[in-house]
Amino acid sequence: MISFQLKRTFLAGVKSLWLHKLRSVLTVLGMVCGVCAVIIMLAVGEGAKFEAQEQLKQLGSTNIIVKAVKPPEDKTSTTGITNVAQFGLTYDDLERMVETLPNVQVAVPTRKIPKTVGNGARTLDTSVMGTVPWLPTVMNRKVAVGRFLSSTDMRYLRNVCVLEQPVANTLFPFKDAMGQAVRIDGNYYRVVGIMEPVAPPKMPKAGADKSDGPTGIYLPLTTVRARFGETLVTMSSGSFQREQVEIHEIVVSVPAMEQVEKTAAAVQQIMERFHNKKDFVMVVPLELIRAAEKAKRRDQILLGCIAAISLLVGGIGIMNIMLASVTERTREIGIRRALGAKKRHIISQFLTEAALLSGFGGAIGVVVGIIVAWLIGYFMTTTTIVVFWSPALSFSISVTIGLAFGIYPAYRAAEMDPIEALRHE
């Protein structure tokens, strides 16, 4: 019996909206925009969250990266004939960090030397990275084939290396790189492992230093020290340039995210005390990601405002048309009242219509919103994800707004004097 009433009210609503098709469609345009904006807002938000998580995964949310940079040129130019630029991180820095900072669990030093590496006639300019066995754990990397460097490699200064996927692909295009030898400066290094590639980060500004995934060759740090020394000689425009850098990068890892900021400050202090020249930079992935998230949140607030305004306008549109409809159908209201409709029957009739109208707009908005969100994700750098509950949420928002803005017209309809309404022409 109740379901019959509901069905009748529902059908009557559909009927009277169908009677004014164009009017109904125009009325719900505001609602369509509002719901569309809600869907996009949620999709962008989810996308940003996803991107941030991916970034954290790649850079390590609990890592602090200290990098060596060449200090401003004026210092080196006055050093005269020797012309050795001495800068960067030192083994002392590394030791100080590990020894004095209670939160520092582990630190990964890396020496980065640009070299030409070869396999027979194939050569590739890449960076040789001297590092320690625990780099994969700290940097959240995986070895695809073989193994990473071991402490035995370190101790015995073995000539072994681990390749990044792109390097392996270039040097050994037609065969398995594992167990093969790679030539660097006349010495040969056996390939013991190949790293699993990582998806390139979509947010370039927060990315590490390369745009399309990591590349290079990993060697034991001790081997690198023994083979290549501390001084790098590079030729540039006819003159030699010598740089002396002990460590190019130190990644400090702390056990929990809450300690990142404090530890970063402490590392900064230690570094500043022993480096008069500004020859290092610090990168805190967590901070970068937070900043990126903040920017995204600003976008989201903007979208949220657009959504709110559109929904408000949509709601007012619905209220307007419902008021017109109530006036237009005064006589029908009178008839229904005379035939025994209670006030609540009239209210539910008009509320149903308002909800149907806004629900219709909401449904269109959901479809348009999903399409637009997809287009944004496809053509722009922003990742957008439409989560399963966002269409449901936006749809119910639209229906709720329809009901809220339908209350007043419905109330007006119910409060009409049936005698007056019957006399209405």
């Binding site: 009748r8 006589r331 008839i335 229904r336 035939l339």
Partner: protein
């Protein structure tokens, strides 16, 4: 207090600006069950006001109205709605069908507000369409019907809830004399089946179908006489 309609000393006063206008001044009427009664009067005589009171669309300022033994003169809005949906059948001058509904759906409206089930209500509405001779028009809309046919739908609708009284407000006012007399004949038949009918009109010929004629003037009963004998 034997009549199905018992009105005693009913006053209806409207406030028009600073003045009180008395539309009804102490009207008392008793209508026994099964009677066909006509209320006549010039415009402004209070006959529309009386009709609205009888139809439970309005409440008297003072006096009492008993419908089927129940005092309905002090009921609230919802209760009056319930009385209208269960005990009163309206027939209007301009038919007052709902335009977007079909014939059968129009007949179903009072049943719907009484909470009938879909199947029962459809069955009853179809049966009533047949009673008024419109069984071949049930799925038409009012705009596709002639005035006489529309008034028949309205009568079927008024019969739907098996009312205690049927109230007809100028039932032939919008019809030509031929279809008008068809409608009047239909009302005669209904009375023959035992329905209590109260019709409001200024047309003598319409009033003469009733057994009893009351003439209102200035909110008071000016004349009461017998009409056609059954």
């Amino acid at each position: 207090m034997t009549g199905i309609v018992e009105i005693s000393q009913v006053w209806k006063t409207y406030r028009m600006g600073a003045e009180d206008v008395h539309a009804l001044r102490g009207v008392s009427v008793s209508v026994p069950e099964g009677q066909y009664i006509a209320i006549m009067g010039a415009s402004g005589s209070g006959k529309s006001t009386l009709l609205n009171l009888l139809g439970c669309l309005d409440r008297p300022t003072s006096g009492t109205y008993h419908l089927g033994g129940e005092d309905v003169s002090r009921l609230g809005d919802d209760q009056l709605s319930f009385i209208r949906s269960s005990k009163i059948g309206f027939i209007f001058q301009s038919y007052n069908l709902i335009q977007q509904l079909t014939v059968v759906e129009n007949i179903e409206v009072p049943l719907y507000y009484q909470g009938w089930s879909e199947r029962d209500s459809l069955e009853r509405a179809t049966a009533l369409a047949e009673v008024v001779g419109l069984s071949n028009r049930v799925n038409h809309r009012p705009t596709e019907l002639s005035g006489g046919q529309q008034q028949r739908v309205a009568i079927a609708r008024a019969l739907a809830n098996d009312p205690l009284i049927m109230l007809a407000d100028e039932p032939t006012g919008n019809l030509d004399s031929h279809t008008g007399s068809d409608i009047l004949r239909l009302l005669d038949q209904l009375q023959a089946q035992g329905k209590t009918i109260i019709t409001v009109t200024h047309d003598e010929r319409v009033a003469n179908h009733a057994e009893r004629i009351i003439r209102l003037a200035d909110g008071e009963i000016a004349e009461e006489r017998a009409g056609r004998q059954p």
